[in-house]
Symmetry: C2
Subunit: 182 residues, 2 copies
């Protein structure tokens, strides 16, 4: 039995929020324990019109992000990642990642930033880290528009849910740092 | 004569944008040269109401930032800073920095992030870096609500305008890193 995530209870509307909420409370834990400081960036919004006193926005549009959603510091190193959920049981569609974000990931790798995706396969109750280099390697060597689940089980690292911290992704990053894998 | 910044030409309306623009083109240079990857975070906005199809925001509010405006990676290290302009010739008002931002700077220092302010004294045509530790030291040891210009000349580092990169603040950070000052 899974105490943390009961997919039968979740509706379509709130599904997209659960992974984000898991990451937010994990980041809060890291902050309070002085382990890391990792924040979700604000959603990029193009403001078109405000009231005259600029206290209220009355016309604006969502913009496509060109960076990743979360960034911060861990062990003096720069971390930046994105988090996505999918309902698919078989693959993760690359349509979820914008072209500018891929370029950005390539640049981050060049500068030795720690960059990755956290992908949750909702129906499988599985959450994986896929490192930026493995994402780029897949894209550069495949014509497929989606990454099969087998690639995650082979190249990715599963993050198990815990009580606290909820989604301890830095445990995996730490292991990779110790093994000089990143 | 100053080729880059002629205050007699600038109107009140565009003044706040000039430092931001200088930093943005500097960051663009750092990116293109693969020196660093530093981005301005989107302005935090609380979206209240969108059209039914969510393509347009029709009610939203600006939120106070709890982090700093720019963050990124340089020499594998985490950098985060804020940039402010002042019309005062004598001091920089601490009202420009929110309480949550100060707490955030303290946390960043604890985790050994490179954090600072870039402050431009418009009327003096001077731009300084003030490192986070010197900002915090001032606040912890003074009751004044503003930092006098003398503190910047003593503890800060002047960034000179150049053709390219326009506002080479990483030159100063680099020097401090080499001298093990940060």
């Amino acid at each position: 039995m899974n105490y943390f995530y009961n997919s039968s209870k979740s509706t379509y509307a709130n599904r997209g929020m659960i992974l984000e909420s898991d990451i937010n409370i994990t980041n809060e834990y890291y902050k309070n324990e002085n382990i890391a400081l990792i924040n979700k960036k604000p959603t990029p919004i193009k403001v078109v019109k405000t009231t005259y006193d600029r206290t209220k926005i009355i016309e604006a549009f969502f913009e496509k992000p060109s960076t990743l959603d979360y960034s911060g510091i861990y062990k003096e190193k720069y971390i930046e990642f994105d988090a996505k959920e999918t309902n698919s049981k078989t693959s993760f569609s690359l349509n979820n990642i914008h072209k500018h974000q891929l370029e950005y990931i390539r640049r981050l790798i060049l500068l030795k930033g720690i960059t990755f995706l956290i992908i949750r396969f909702i129906s499988l109750n599985k959450t994986y880290i896929l490192m930026g280099k493995d994402l780029i390697s897949f894209i550069d060597n495949n014509t497929r528009k989606s990454i099969p689940i087998s690639y995650f089980t082979e190249k990715g690292y599963e993050i198990k849910l815990k009580y606290s911290p909820r989604l301890d992704y830095l445990e995996i990053i730490d292991k990779l740092l110790n093994e000089k894998e990143i």
